[in-house]
Amino acid sequence: MNKGCGSGSDSCLSSMEEELHVLAVDDNLIDRKLVERILKISSCKVTTAENGLRALEYLGLGDPQQTDSLTNVMKVNLIITDYCMPGMTGFELLKKVKESSNLKEVPVVILSSENIPTRINKCLASGAQMFMQKPLKLSDVEKLKCHLLNCRS
């Protein structure tokens, strides 16, 4: 189903016909379930993580001693993360991703229940693809996919 890896920087969407692999990060179990279901209905492959550290580990940015070669096989096309999480916030996760040479091209979408302009601007300024309001709806993912498609061209 997925194209061969090709060039190292090709971590954006290669084609809308191929399955998007999304990493969804949220400390709330109910929200994780919801995001997962919404993404699956929208034909995405979904991996969930309950906090920023787990997310980084999955992405291969965790403890260097624990990283193995398998991490790069599960190419992630999109990261959706909650903003408010204990420990590492979604914003901190965003920065870590954007600082990584391997992953900085991966779009990161931030979700928040609060509509705070300074928060939104801060995330967008640090490279977030989009900032979306929680709770997530089915129509939000369609919007998201369109936005991502348009951004590519």
Binding site: N28, L29, I30, D31, K33, L34, R37, I38, I41, C84, P86, S113, K134, P135, K137, L138
Partner: protein, 157 residues
Amino acid sequence: MNTIVVAQLQRQFQDYIVSLYQQGFLDNQFSELRKLQDEGTPDFVAEVVSLFFDDCSKLINTMSISLERPDNVDFKQVDSGVHQLKGSSSSVGARRVKNVCISFKECCDVQNREGCLRCLQQVDYEYKMLKTKLQDLFNLEKQILQAGGTIPQVDIN
């Protein structure tokens, strides 16, 4: 299939769910939740709300412990609990529970223990009330299906 029975049950279901919205127990997010359910995942909504009610019970318990001693309230803990509860209730469309959480957070922010205790009691009452209501709703769904009918799509607007 007894079409008259099915039609009656469907009508009952429709009226009941509309009343839950009108009385403010549920908001639009609950409809969004229902959209995520299909023949392949017929228990999705029930599973999610069940998780939510478990969450409520657990969080209320820990917050109650944090609020117990007047001289030693862990408001950070309480705030964390309220934040989680507010998030979850918002995600499932539990409108009344969510609204209590908003007041609850305000009491927590000013470290008002009495206010927090009142909100705690209210949130406990509201989630249990909603649990009963949704149980009745799910029972109606079951009856419709058992009678060979389909669950009506209900447009709240």
